[in-house]
Symmetry: C2
Subunit: 308 residues, 2 copies
């Protein structure tokens, strides 16, 4: 019980740090026009679990580094996550009007501005990682470049964007015909890209910025892959079990849209069991590089046991 | 006359190199899903002047460096330019169905896929610059990181995305009322961001990757700012004078949309004179760092005298 209370404090503390850093990192007038600055801020400050930046900072701490060096990457990852939600919610994509309990950006600012704000956040993420932490130390410069490569790969066509493309194809056919339903392997591949890739990039970015060894970074990457899968399974379970008010988004929406979900493929109980198995594998992987006592395992527990 | 013929050869040669490098740099299956790979390739290979990558390579050559070191940045800049066209053409933005003489991406692949392909190209641009040229040389690593910062600033909310946001606000009001028309200073600021910022970033990126001095990079930046303004003025002039077939996009569209243009503000003749004045100032700036004999001045002439 102590560990759980302790984790709650830890998460609150990190969230406060992250929220402050996010607001400080957002571009503002006169550097950029007020309308796009307002739109970006609306979505970034609309709440959210901050899972990706927390994972980034926790990895930095796990390998014994100063988490402040990882804060710019942590913010960049949340910018990228936020842009992906803005674009996913657009009428041409998932057509969601509610996110984190608030109207989605295209509802309040229009579709054009929502597209632009997303583009702005994605671009700003890379500007931020290139700029900060400011240093001419060759080792820090090399780490920053490596982190940019990791994040861009996780967020791009091979990762998150690719997963969204599979998702899009699974629910829409331009000629109006029903697409072929995705099998279990396809669903897993889709989620590994759509959710898993950026979660892996988040954990790796923190470890790299804080000077983790190759063995540590590799283990954290594999553990984060398990976290990503668990996260998606739990998301699907909550979509079935959760009430709209608690989730802050429309419950049952995925099922209604005919999207392939883990409960639909495996049933609720087996899905929950699969999520717990992910956590067990992740713990084993982290133990192999003596990181079982780090916050990372606790964060994995939070991912599996969360109710929203 | 010799210089002009010579420039034509030069541009053709560089375009061939760039086109080959662009295709090689595009992500493809199994690294990423085929649908988004196809969509990205459709727009990247749809032609275009390749002005930004040419400027990037020409700057690299101007400061005496190997242009191959600048090719990844050159391709990244064309990816970013292409993504901006894809998103600008969307129904929620300019709603264009024709680009470079071909149907726009959202017409052939759907809006959702067009949004995703744009996101993918923007992200891939940064992946490419972080990855290539592959080197552990501290000087090269530092240059790559500096170029990423330059390109992200030029493409982001302070630059291109910000310019598009000003443009969007100038033609749409969500409550249906007419927006206040932009004054001459606002129009200049909009274009400096929307077109100028990425053109400046293109020229600077090449100079930085090839080890240009700070004085050279600064002069190239200022000259490219003049090129960017000249480019936009000529674009507006061609929108009035050009036929749809020659331009490969809908002529007179800007005027019809009530967009503020240089000919509308200053008349056709004065606009052309302003474009020539930009070229004169750019030539002077480049002369001050002994770069008057570089291809950059010739490229400026091409920008001002182009007919499409």
């Amino acid at each position: 019980m102590t560990a759980i209370i302790d984790l709650g404090h830890y998460l609150d503390e990190r969230r406060s740090e992250i929220d402050a850093a996010l607001v400080a990192a957002l571009p503002r007038p006169p550097l950029c026009p007020a309308n796009v600055a307002d739109a970006m801020r609306y979505s970034v400050t609309a709440g959210g679990k901050r899972l990706r930046p927390i994972l980034c900072l926790a990895s930095a701490e796990a390998v014994g580094g100063d988490r402040r060096a990882a804060m710019p990457a942590a913010c960049a990852l949340e910018f990228i996550h936020t842009y992906s939600l803005i674009h996913d919610d657009l009428p041409a994509m998932d057509n969601d009007t509610l996110r984190r309990g608030q109207p989605t950006l295209h509802v309040v600012a229009g579709e054009g501005m929502a597209i632009l704000a997303g583009d702005g956040l994605l671009t700003e993420a890379f500007a931020l990682m290139a700029r900060e932490p400011a240093s001419v130390d060759a080792a820090v410069v090399a780490r920053k470049l490596r982190v940019i490569a990791i994040v861009a790969s996780g967020a791009g066509a091979a990762g998150m964007v690719g997963g969204q493309a599979i998702d899009l194809a699974s629910v829409t056919h331009r000629n109006g015909s029903m697409p072929a339903p995705l099998g279990a392997d396809d669903v897993r591949d889709m989620h590994a890209r759509k959710t898993g890739a950026l979660i892996r990039a988040s954990a790796c970015a923190g470890a790299v910025m804080s000077g983790g060894t190759d063995a540590q970074v590799d283990a954290i990457d594999r553990a984060a892959s398990e976290f990503g899968l668990a996260f998606q399974i739990v998301d699907d379970v909550l979509d079935v079990e959760g009430a709209s008010a608690e989730l802050g988004k429309t419950a049952g929406k995925d099922v209604a849209a005919g999207k392939p979900t883990y409960p639909a493929l495996y049933g609720l109980e087996r899905s929950k069991q699969m999520a717990r198995a992910c956590l067990e594998r992740a713990t084993e992987i982290l133990s192999s590089v003596s990181l079982a006592d780090s916050r990372l395992v606790q964060i994995g527990g939070w991912i599996v046991n969360r109710t929203r």
